[in-house]
């Protein structure tokens, strides 16, 4: 058994390593080192805490860790890169659930300690945490209860929210916003009821108040995320990421553990910033996203004139053969069709023919921030030709051919031209400035947001209907 001094030293080391780990993600090369900082930090934190003072129950702890590690390694190895968003959402739910359990435990332990103190029996057989609780003053115990309430509430919302987000991303739950009758009033009601229960709990009512409050929080998490459309999932996932951090921080307060507080705060602020970036990229207000669905439009959307002109792969191939500069704009459709390898092959072929090929990535393309980058990286597209919206938007005018693969709203000119459009003001990739635009799309439907896209009707746009992967695959040999 190591002393408390060792454990504290390990906590400091782990905190520094976690900060370095996040900071290292500023570029791709450093990132590979940074992830090791994170791994070492976590290993140090767990190992030293586990052998710290007052820890017992190894017969439970160690097997559980091993089983968990094996499951984790298996899942991480098996998962497809296109299933990344689901996986991240699912993992968030674990953190939420763990926070709920630890919060409940904290309360149970507190009750046990109080009972023992009342009975003036010995404090033998207490866990490390219970031993800590035994030393607390009544004021501190009051705060401990507040922290438990916060940790459990946030954890529960994160848990069900992440499960629903997982379901929506995996296609197991309908992606459309869906709410029970009563909508947000129901959420508000549940929140008020939770608050009442929390107050009761703080006034030393029984454990049932905490349990009931947790159930209400679970309902809020479920109902809140059900009401948000699939297209807003990037924001939701980063928001849940943030929540999982805050839940950890709240639990850290409960346990008087600085490492938990620091790490929770890091994760919480990281998720908050990501949500902010995503909202900004969609020109949406955070509240607006969370309250679900697109706000009612201010007037009828502009009518679109013209027709969508289809083209076959031979036509696209000849245009590509003639082009000098090509920009590929991928969207969620590319992920769905698993077309990233075909796209990579196409890129290689075009590049070896001496053409300039670049990728334009919209910040909210896909279902997770940076989703497209990961898919393209998986398909071995060099990252230095993959550019962000702001870097590439002015270059479209000098580009011969733009290929839009399974993207819709992020290339919708209505966002800039039609003030009545539900996505008005959202920054979009100005693909229509290019000489020719080919849109690879399954059929004539609208995108995730259900908004008609005038791009498809533009004179320089041609539609290549069909599965993205099949289309691109048949395109590759057709290019000279």
């Amino acid at each position: 058994m190591l002393g408390q001094g060792f454990v504290s030293a390990a906590s400091i080391a782990a905190s520094v390593l976690f900060i370095l780990s996040l900071g290292g993600l500023s570029n791709q090369e450093k990132a590979k080192r940074a992830v090791w900082y994170g791994i070492v930090g976590m290993a140090v934190a767990v190992a030293f805490t586990a052998v710290g003072p007052g820890i017992g129950g190894y017969w439970w702890m160690v097997p559980m860790m091993i089983v968990g590690a094996v499951i984790g390694a298996y899942v991480a190895k098996k998962v497809d890169m296109t299933e990344m968003p689901q996986l991240v959402a699912a993992l968030h739910s674990f953190v939420g659930l763990a926070a709920v359990f630890v919060g409940w435990n904290a309360d149970l332990e507190r009750r046990r300690v109080l009972a023992a103190q009342l009975a003036e029996s010995s404090t033998e057989g207490f866990s490390a945490f219970a031993a800590l609780v035994a030393t607390k003053t009544p004021a501190e115990l009051m705060f401990l209860q507040i922290e438990v309430v916060l940790g459990v509430f946030i954890g529960a919302v994160t848990f069900t929210g992440s499960v629903i987000a997982f379901g929506k991303l995996a296609g197991k739950v309908d992606g459309k916003p869906r709410q029970l009758p009563g909508g947000h009033m129901l959420n508000a009601g549940a929140a008020v009821l939770s608050l009442l229960l929390a107050i009761l709990y703080l006034n030393s009512a029984g454990f049932w108040t905490l349990l009931l409050m947790s159930l209400l929080a679970l309902f809020i998490g479920y109902h809140l995320i059900m009401g948000i459309g699939g297209a807003d999932m990037p924001v939701v996932v980063s928001m849940l990421n943030s929540y999982s951090g805050w839940a950890a921080a709240a639990i850290g307060f409960t346990l008087s553990n600085d490492l938990l507080i620091v790490t929770g705060a890091l994760v919480g602020s990281s998720g908050a910033i990501l949500s902010y970036i995503m909202c900004k990229a969609m020109n949406r207000n955070f509240i607006n996203v969370i309250l679900g669905g697109f706000g009612g439009s201010k007037g009828p959307a502009a009518e679109i004139e013209g027709e969508q002109v289809a083209i076959d792969t031979a036509g696209v191939a000849s245009a590509l053969s003639d082009a000098d500069s090509v920009i590929i704009v991928p969207g969620y459709g590319m992920a769905v069709a698993q077309a990233q390898n075909a796209v990579s092959e196409l890129t290689r072929k075009l590049r070896s023919a001496g053409k300039q090929v670049r990728f334009g990535i919209h910040p909210v393309a896909g279902r997770l921030p940076g989703h497209m980058n990961v898919l393209l990286a998986e398909a071995r597209v060099p990252y230095d030709i993959v550019l962000e919206m702001d870097e590439i938007n002015d270059d479209f005018a000098n580009t011969d051919v733009v290929i839009v693969i399974g993207a819709n709203d992020i290339v919708n000119p209505a966002a800039q031209e039609d003030p009545n459009s539900p996505i008005a003001g959202m920054p979009v990739l100005r693909v229509w400035d290019a000489k020719q635009v080919f849109v690879c799309k399954r059929g004539q439907g609208t995108g995730y947001s259900g908004i008609e896209n005038p791009l498809f009707f533009k004179e320089n746009s041609r539609m290549l209907y069909g599965d993205a992967r099949t289309s691109i695959d048949s395109l590759v040999p057709a290019i000279e």
Partner: protein, 523 residues
């Protein structure tokens, strides 16, 4: 029907309205083709080439005019040719009906139908028969070639062992088809090209051809869409401003190509004598409007004159004819498309459909009546341009003031936030126990560190960031570890479950992050 092309009689005209290539297409429409012997000679098509294409070669103009049901020509008919016209015969050629009323009357009197290629309306469907555009395209190209022929220097700038050559500066006035073609040609030869047009909406086209658009600050700019894509006369004030702009350019440019024409009016004088004087010796002016009087004061139609200060002014009016082969090929194709529209069933029968916008517009006499001018076409030439809101460039002072204001606002916001935050902390400190406040300091600092660090994360790594933060948020496992040694079975069970799922999360999260990062590679 018999389609016949006579030899052009106008002096210096080398073009021909029928080429062996177009003849083959016309035959597919069910027509028979005739050509006067030697008609294609000057354009590079000899009689044998026509014979090979299945065209009957007829000796003498009169014989041809008599044999043909439809006569296709380039230039308007001469007095003599108009005399050959007969009842029911159709003539397709350039005609300029507005300028040649007598000729029009004569053709009507002869009972012939005349389709004027210069009257084809400017709508999308009729582009394939727009002979004016195809001829203007050639004229623009040729104007640059003629200018180069008379200009003593390179077009492109070069740095050679024998010294540095500056690029030629070319000014193109009027960005119609001819102007744009001249811009493209000059730019591809390497010259620095500037261009001016009274219609500001063509700025985009000018820039797309590789020239710099000389912008004139003036409120009442024209909308070319109203006039079928052509320029209209401008107000005196506008003209003054325009001339001032040209006066400014004159000493700087080496080659001026003027293409300004207003339909049915003499060409506007835009390059005045004093501008020619201001130009450097050896400079060249090519006046594509020479036939309508010229845009330059010194222009003499059909001649090359040299001014007192050594500026060469070219006023040729036969640029397309100087490239007879190319011009004939394009013109013959335009005519062929017209015949295509006149033969809807492709059975060799001409159907003169006066309901058709294009045919109606181009027909100037039909069934013994003069049908000029035509009613306006039902389809507008081009969509009207939307007025672009002008964005005013802020002055440096305004910019600085704006920046200062933004800085002040930001300071105010930050100070307010700090104040409110500080106050809240103070209140919290009143009620919270000391141990809590100590942890709270750690929490606040960690939030700050988090905010600072995360802003630096590159966008493309947001997914790995999420996976990594997810992995480290399972630090919650520590809580479970601290509780698992409890005496209560319920607590042990829940702790054990927490340890299990947090372990999945730790290993899974880090593993997935590593997988993702390993894929990022430089090219």
């Amino acid at each position: 029907m018999k389609i016949g092309a006579p030899k052009e009689t106008a002096r210096g005209e080398a073009r021909v309205a029928l080429t062996p290539e177009s003849a083959q297409h016309i035959k597919k429409l069910g027509h028979e083709c005739l050509i006067e012997a030697g008609a294609g000679e000057a354009a590079g098509f000899d009689d044998d080439a026509y014979r090979e294409a299945g065209v009957t070669v007829v000796d003498g103009a009169q014989a041809l005019w008599e044999a043909a049901d439809v006569v296709i020509k380039v230039r308007e008919p001469s007095e003599e040719e108009a005399g050959f016209l007969r009842q029911g015969q159709t003539l397709i050629s350039f005609f300029w009906p507005a300028q040649s009323e007598e000729l029009l009357e004569k053709c009507r009197a002869q009972g012939a139908t005349v389709i004027a290629m210069d009257m084809v309306p400017r709508i999308s469907r009729a582009q394939k028969m727009d002979a004016l555009s195809s001829m203007a395209n050639i004229a623009g190209y040729r104007a640059v070639i003629e200018a180069g022929n008379n200009f003593g220097r390179f077009f492109t700038g070069q740095v050679t062992a024998a010294g540095k050559v500056p690029p030629a500066k070319v000014l193109v006035i009027g960005a119609g088809v001819a102007g744009l073609s001249a811009i493209g040609t000059a730019a591809s030869l390497g010259a620095v090209v500037r261009a001016f047009d009274v219609r500001p909406e063509v700025a985009e086209q000018i820039e797309s051809m590789g020239a710099e658009f000389l912008f004139l600050e003036f409120d009442e700019s024209q909308d070319g869409a109203e006039t079928g894509g052509y320029a209209a006369p401008s107000s005196p004030e506008f003209r003054e401003k325009q001339l001032a702009l040209f006066r400014e350019q004159a000493p700087d440019v080496d080659i001026v190509i003027t293409t300004a024409l207003i339909p049915g009016k003499p060409a506007p004088k835009l390059w005045l004598e004093d501008m020619v004087k201001a130009m450097k010796p050896g400079s060249v002016i090519v006046d594509l409007a020479a036939e309508k009087g010229g845009n330059c004061d010194l222009t003499v139609p059909d001649e090359r004159v040299v001014s007192d200060n050594g500026v060469i002014v070219i006023g040729y009016t036969d640029f397309p004819s100087r490239m007879a082969t190319q011009a004939s090929l394009l013109y013959a194709t335009n005519v062929r498309h017209m015949l295509n529209d006149l033969t809807p069933e492709k059975d060799g029968a001409i159907v003169h459909d006066m309901e058709d916008d294009v045919i109606r517009g181009a027909t100037v006499t039909h069934a013994g009546e003069i049908t000029f001018p035509p009613p306006p076409p039902k389809v507008k030439a081009i969509a009207s341009a939307k007025p672009k809101p002008k964005v005013k460039e802020p002055t440096p002072e305004e910019k600085r003031a704006a920046e200062h204001a933004a800085f002040l606002a930001q300071t105010k916001r930050q100070v307010t936030m700090l104040g409110v935050g500080g106050l809240l902390m103070l209140l919290l400190g009143q009620v919270a126990p000391v141990s809590f406040m100590q942890h709270f300091i750690v929490f606040a600092l960690a939030c700050f560190v988090g905010f600072q660090v995360i802003w630096g994360v590159s966008h493309s790594l947001h997914t790995p960031l999420m996976a990594v933060t997810n992995a480290i948020s399972s630090i919650i496992i520590l809580g479970a570890i601290l509780q698992i040694g409890s005496g209560s079975f319920l607590v042990i069970l829940m702790s054990a479950l927490s340890v299990l799922i947090a372990s999945i999360n730790i290993v899974g999260g880090f593993q997935v992050t590593r997988r993702m990062l390993a894929m990022f590679q430089k090219s």
